[in-house]
Amino acid sequence: MVASSSSLKLQDLIQEIREAKTQAQEREVIQKECAHIRASFRDGDPLHRHRQLTKLLYVHLLGYPAHFGQMECLKLIASPRFTDKRVGYLGAMLLLDERQDAHLLITNSIKNDLSQGIQAVQGLALCTLSATGSAEMCRDLATEVEKLLLQPSAYVRKKAVLTAVHMIRKAPELSDIFLPPCAQLLHEHHHGILLGTITLITELCERSPAALKHFRKMVPQLVHILRTVVTTGYSKEHSISGVSDPFLQVQILRLLRILGRNHEESSETMNDLLAQVATNTDTSRNAGNAVLFETVLTIMDIRSAAGLRVLAVNILGRFLLNTDRNIRYVALTSLLRLVQSDHSAVQRHRPTVVECLREPDGSLSRRALELSLALVNSSNVQAMIQELQGFLESCPPDLQADCASGILLAAERFAPTKRWHIDTTLRVLTTAGTHVRDDAVASLTQLIGGAQELHAYSVRRLYSALAEDISQQPLVQAATWCIGEYGDLLLEGSCEETEPLQVEEEEVLALLERVLQSHMSLPATRGYALTALVKLSTRLRGDKSCLDVELQQRAVEYNTLFQKYDHMRAAILEKIPLVERGGSQVDEEAKESKETAQLSEAAPVPTEPQASKLLDLLDLLDGPSGDAQHPRPLDPTPGSALIHLLNLPCAPPPPAPIPNLKVFEREGLQLDLSFVRPPGTPTLLLITVTATNTSGGDVTHFICQAAVPKSFQLQLQAPSGDTVPAQGGLPMTQLLRILNPKKAPLRLKLRLTYNHFGQSVQEIFEVNNLPVEAWQ
């Protein structure tokens, strides 16, 4: 191999590396070379040190470790030769970042070099300082740098300004030092220095409000500078495709933006200038567009005149129509920011925005989607949702989730009719079902539940959708729930809003069974399907016996499912109360199902003990209110218990309240009745009996029983307790469910037994003054 590799030139090394055909070969070459370099460093050859370091730096650029070169950098920096210093500083910038311990050691060298007075050297030192200066270094050397800001050499001044910018970023407290020179630096003609100064001022203003105030006074000066730049003719040094120094223009505009934000006076000074820049810039090339974009951003941020804002929006509109996609992207981003404050102005460009939805470019379509969603309002909602749904069908999967949620949200806020809302939700679910948020199903069920007139319609639609496709989980869940609730409407056959759909019971059951068996269904979905089956079994007129058997089988499955997915149980059983449906209903169902599976006599149905006592009660009741009849106590057999339980359908949001009624008062014990008429079931009345005790003694063994006329059905649920503590303690409540199919006037008799003040009390009375709303 090459013997004198210690003097291998960098070029040759690069050549060798490029000739390596594989990664392994390349590594070999580099390792060999590194070994030579290390040996050379150990030997301490000062003449060729810089060459070795250059090679090492190259190797570092390729990604190989080069930390052993750090000390060499220091040595090279300290050397008086310029070539050495150059390489040394370069190495320092690459190898000695802040995390290395040797970092601080270069501080002294830099200090010496800064005060040397040789431009190139000073330049190097400043460069390194600005690239890798740590906070401490900055603090130490700040005064040095400040002195250099006023040096006669433009080269040094420029570098010094850049270093100052870095220092401010690292150690903001140095802003005091750098504040005063700025004013003078603004008078520079050299664009490089000017650019650096503007950046410096921007950094200062961003970090300290005091600086901000100080520099506001300079707004006129800045305006003047910008104006000069804009109106100067072609200047060879600074022109980029016809625009003179767009970088400087952009930077000044950005600074003006910061200065004019929330400040009337400065904004006014800028108005003319901004208008001038906006209208005079040549937009045929990108450079011009860049300046125009920055102008628009500035107009949007400061307190500009209304005319100017309109101008800005129009410029953005023009951008949108441009064929260059970069410009369109930029326009969409800015319009998104504007839409909050100037909504109506942006609305004018809505058609173009919608066009952009169809772009094949991912970045553009995402922006267009966000903007379109922001532009939806009550007047254009139908058209927009139409477009968005078209987009949903064809958009890439990562955007689908956002799009679906966006559509659902917009539909919720602006839906003109309930039916349209249900339609839209349904369409979203069928198209992008797997990507919707979890609560979409819940909101759909709530929506359908609340729109009573649309029950038949929705169940029909959902059934047909389900029959086509059982793979989309949210859709399946919603559909099975709906079928469960309104299955009877489905089977009735006629409904004006869709074509007549003859559905047989077997079809419905078969479909639900398919859902259950399908391996694509989540446990939650199976839960829904089972619930639906159970509910349906009570409503269908078909063969009861076979349904009961099926029900038992299902219940066994339910059992095993629950054992397998016990953690899901809470979730499934909980979901239903979300919509204010009978959560207890499902619990009781589950209990009942289990009992059915065991095919044993029902365990104490809560109402059973009441039933027997009621019979006692009624023996006593043969007085004038004679027809206190046998309210059919709940049959202890499971099947019919289910029927009764399940026949009490669910209650959507509360109706107009019926006034409470105080029915009994004795020695501090008070009994109140409160009435609820769930609107979904006109024949049901829920009465809550509340017993409160304001006396000094507890009321114990409290039992309340009720009786109603023959045509009513009464169910007493278990009371919350049998003791009403004294002195206004926790009241006791008990729920009475009364079914009144004939809508006859309600009559209610109550019997109370309790112990109070050591005495046993028994009271029987009829409740008078029952409000009319309770039964009508």
């Binding site: 460069c127 980029i240 860049a290 970069n326 094949p360 470019d361 970045s363």
Partner: protein
């Protein structure tokens, strides 16, 4: 604020990389591969600004070389786009008809170049 500046060729080899925030060495290669992947998969029809994690990528293709600049939200994308072109023009002037080879051979010199230019934000 510019986060990084990369020159990567179509085969995925990095010709020049400058990071303005500390990124670990191994993370850098990962970053570069991902970035170049997203740039290579763009067609001519699409715009030059990509949203990547929490910053934006602005890229420009010159023959087989991609120049990619990563910026955060506050930058004017079009100005950076213009800046990339300016940089390439300077290289062109310096090397008279610059090519990828020049970039790989003179990368050390490039570094010095860089520091003077970059601070203009």
């Amino acid at each position: 604020m510019i986060k990084f500046f990369l020159m990567v060729n179509k085969q995925g080899q990095t010709r020049l990389s400058k990071y303005y925030e500390h990124v670990e060495i191994n993370k850098r290669t990962l970053l570069e591969t991902e970035v170049i992947k997203s740039c290579l998969s763009r067609s001519n029809e699409q715009c030059s600004f990509i949203e990547y994690k929490d910053f934006k990528l602005i890229y420009r293709q010159y023959a087989a070389l991609f120049i990619v600049v990563g910026v955060n939200d506050t930058e004017n994308e079009m100005a950076i786009y213009e800046f990339i072109h300016n940089f390439v023009e300077v290289l062109d002037d310096y090397f008279s008809r610059v090519s990828e080879l020049d970039v790989s051979f003179f990368s050390a010199v490039n570094q010095v170049f860089h520091s003077t230019w970059q601070r203009t934000g």
